[in-house]
């Protein structure tokens, strides 16, 4: 330690080098993340004229409007429901499929590729496919149901069902990615631990539950965190499948921001920015909670 001052003094250029490497990423972040963020904060305390130009400081008018707007409370409810309905099934089903694909059955590669394929679809493409499936007049799903003899289901026009239908589409889109991550996790499990458990007599469900699952918690935790953020930011499927309807029952926070800022000749950037701040806050709180509560139960080897 005593020699540090004399021999290992870094030259100025050398100490700047790491920052130079970071620079491209920082520039992208500054331009596309930080500056819009700062702009949103500023806009959220401004009024907006009919062209979308800020009209000056209005204090917390946009925020008090949020609190008093009953529709906005509904939006938060829809957002929470949508997040739960997409994150939980996409992880549970993804895990089930990943475990099934561990077994040595024929054509396992084919199935793995097949199940992972949704990952390669863009949200827009997948949504259009689901639009064809759900179509109230010529939908494939209703076509199949009519063969069975049951009545038609209003997948997207029934207010009680629409959110479930959009969530199901989202789960399908998310499933491929989750399956890939979990399969990779399963593939990397230490053979000796599994073998030791087998020698101790653990097998079947017991082995999965007590040995495999705890070893897989890092991947599961990762998927819960990224899946939640992803769900909170979902937009394409709602825009394409339901445009937030029926009766605003699929209007999530992100969709509401879009409606206020860009749809139907709206340009209420002030109010939309205030909603965006709420979204930011929710993402921060949820992620912090997940790290605070869930991560304690994650088993890192």
């Amino acid at each position: 330690m005593g020699t540090e001052g004399t021999t290992a003094r870094p030259r100025p250029l050398q100490s700047l080098l790491p920052y130079a490497y970071l620079l491209p990423a920082l520039v992208v972040f500054a331009v596309f993340i930080f500056s819009p963020l700062v702009k949103s904060v500023i806009l959220s305390v401004q009024g907006t004229d009919i062209l979308g130009n800020p009209t000056g400081f209005v204090g917390f008018v946009n925020y008090t409007k949020l609190v008093t707007d009953s529709d906005f409370l509904k939006v938060l409810g829809v957002t929470a429901a949508f997040t739960v309905l997409t994150v939980v099934p996409s992880i549970v089903i993804g895990l089930a499929l990943a475990l099934l694909l561990q077994t040595r059955i024929r054509l396992v590669r084919f199935f793995r590729t097949g199940f992972a394929l949704p990952f390669a679809f863009s949200v827009a493409t997948a949504s259009v496919v689901f639009q064809v499936l759900y179509n109230p007049a010529s939908g494939v799903l209703n076509g199949i149901l009519s063969l069975v003899g049951t009545g038609k289901v209003d997948w997207l026009t029934n207010p009680d069902l629409a959110l479930w239908s959009v969530s199901a589409a989202t789960v399908w889109m998310q499933l491929g990615y989750n399956l890939l991550v979990l399969s990779a996790g399963l593939g990397a499990l230490p053979e000796e631990v599994i073998e030791a458990a087998r020698l101790d007599g653990a097998s079947g469900f017991r082995l999965q539950r007590s040995i495999v699952l705890p070893l897989l918690t890092p991947q599961l935790f990762f998927l819960v965190v990224t899946g939640t953020i992803h769900s909170l930011q979902s937009f394409g499927q709602i825009k394409i499948l339901t445009v937030g309807g029926p009766e605003n029952r699929t209007t999530t926070l992100v969709y509401s921001i879009y409606e206020q800022a860009f749809a139907n000749n709206n340009s209420n950037y002030g109010y939309a920015s205030a909603q965006a701040m709420v979204l930011l806050l929710i993402v921060l709180i949820v992620t912090a909670l997940q790290f605070g509560v869930l991560e304690r139960r994650v088993f890192y080897r």
Partner: protein, 452 residues
């Protein structure tokens, strides 16, 4: 085209008004273009896609060919009407508006309030252009205080499409389509499967606010106050008035009794239901006549087109909707404005409108277009389209049929859809429409305060 050129040179001879040339909202001097050196480019944003875009591109190409070396129009697709107006707002901020933009009818008040464009009337007055050829009902929508702000371009009306084959199967007379909502219901009762009829549903319509606007207009009511915003600034919407609620309640009962299909807001879904013969009657725009004729041929059924049904037999007719062309003034050179005016005039000529009409099904804004040989021949081939011609001619021009002029009209349309949707899903019709209408009040007052 010759007449237009003559009119411009005449305007130049009489001196024009050179002082107003440099102002953002006045017409430039009539010789602005002839003085300009080289080729003047006109950027043109439109919201036409598919077949309509192909026909429009053909028209633009023809114009460019006729003005080689002088004017070149560059047409760009700006997305749907909603997208186009959103992009236009962004363009105002970045001072990059196009020379000509196509904006939907309900964006009219906003375009006036945005104060970016040169009203058509400025050009018309300067050149003493003869505009008697414009269909008065169509020009009426875009006229405020007797001043034509934008040039109507593509216009359509709602009509009732019906499946004659299914009518015959249900024991109805296919030459006697229903004229009122009550008759629509009577016929739907015979057509629908629920009563053993040949179609899954008798009637269908997308949850599209435009359709409700038509019922209100033809019933002789205003959609918003201040005489539909024509005598002053509108301060509230009135789609919760008795006639409107009666229409929504009728619709609600049709759905509840399984006589009508609720296919949601997606107009394409409602169209599919009609094309695949699941619904026997459909409310849609005249713009669908081509597509439905094709579907009828493919699906082996006979297509009928009838007047838009009325709430009461004595009602008049619907509003003429669609989109119009606006010439941007603020930040644009005089030569560009003048070239834009040339282009807009060309698009409103009888021959152009006849090509547009026969190519797309949009109603011609020019009376003379209907006399063009190509147009006459086309209507002989598709007699369905004469229904729209007669419907238009039988509709008197009043503030009711002029339609509501209001800055937040796009938001109002969406709100009315929220109301209809809630009603169709079981909420009391009056309650649903009142809630939707009152929800707009703060939006309207914010807009009006900001637009001053």
């Amino acid at each position: 085209m010759c007449a237009a050129v003559v009119a411009i040179s005449l305007g130049a001879c009489s001196g024009g008004s050179s002082t107003s040339g440099s102002s953002a909202q006045g017409a430039p001097a009539a010789d602005a273009l002839s003085k300009a050196k080289g080729v003047t480019t006109v950027s043109f944003w439109h919201a036409m896609n598919g077949k309509n875009a192909t026909v429009l591109t053909g028209l633009v190409d023809a114009f460019n060919k006729a003005h080689t070396g002088k004017i070149v129009v560059k047409a760009t697709y700006a997305g749907t009407y909603d997208d186009a107006i959103t992009k236009y707002k962004a363009a105002i901020k970045s001072k990059s508006t196009p020379d000509v933009i196509q904006i939907y009818d309900i964006g009219t008040r906003f375009m006036i309030d945005a104060k970016q464009t040169v009203p058509m009337q400025e050009f018309i007055d300067r050149d003493k252009t003869d505009v008697t050829d414009l269909q008065p009902n169509i020009a009426g929508y875009y006229s405020v205080d007797n001043k034509l702000y934008s040039m109507p371009f593509n216009t359509s009306m709602p009509v009732l499409y019906y499946n004659k084959t299914l009518f015959t199967k249900a024991g109805l007379d296919p030459t006697k389509p229903p004229a009122t909502l009550e008759e629509v219901r009577t016929d739907a009762e015979k057509l629908a499967k629920v009563n053993g009829g040949p179609a899954a549903y008798g009637f269908g319509a997308a949850i599209y606010g435009w359709l409700l606007e038509q019922f209100i207009a033809s019933a002789g009511d205003d959609y918003c106050d201040s005489d539909n915003g024509r005598k002053g600034t509108a301060t509230k919407v009135e789609f919760d008035q008795p006639d409107a609620v009666a229409v929504v309640a009728w619709w609600q009962k049709m759905v509840k009794d399984k006589l009508a299909a609720n296919t949601g807001r997606d107009t394409a879904a409602a169209q599919t239901a009609f094309k695949s013969q699941q619904v026997a009657m459909l409310l849609e725009s005249t713009g669908q006549v081509g597509g439905f004729t094709q579907a009828a041929t493919d699906g082996k059924f006979e297509l009928g087109v009838a007047n838009y049904p009325k709430l009461k037999a004595s009602d008049s007719g619907p509003i003429i909707g669609g989109a119009s062309l606006w010439i941007d003034g603020a930040g644009h050179a005089d030569a560009s404005k003048e070239a834009a005016w040339e282009f807009v005039k060309y698009l409103s000529e009888p021959a152009t409108q006849a090509t547009w009409h026969t190519g797309t099904g949009y109603f011609p804004i020019s009376k003379a277009a209907l006399q063009q040989p190509a147009d006459v021949a086309w209507r002989q081939q598709y007699p369905q389209f004469d229904v729209a011609v007669q419907q238009l001619q039988n509709t008197p021009l009043t503030t009711h049929t002029q339609g509501c002029l209001m800055g937040v009209m796009p938001q109002a349309r969406k709100a009315s859809e929220d109301g209809i949707e809630a009603a169709l899903n079981g909420t009391d019709a009056q309650q649903a429409m009142t809630k939707a209408a009152s929800g707009l009040s703060s939006l309207i007052s914010t807009y009006n305060a900001s637009a001053k």
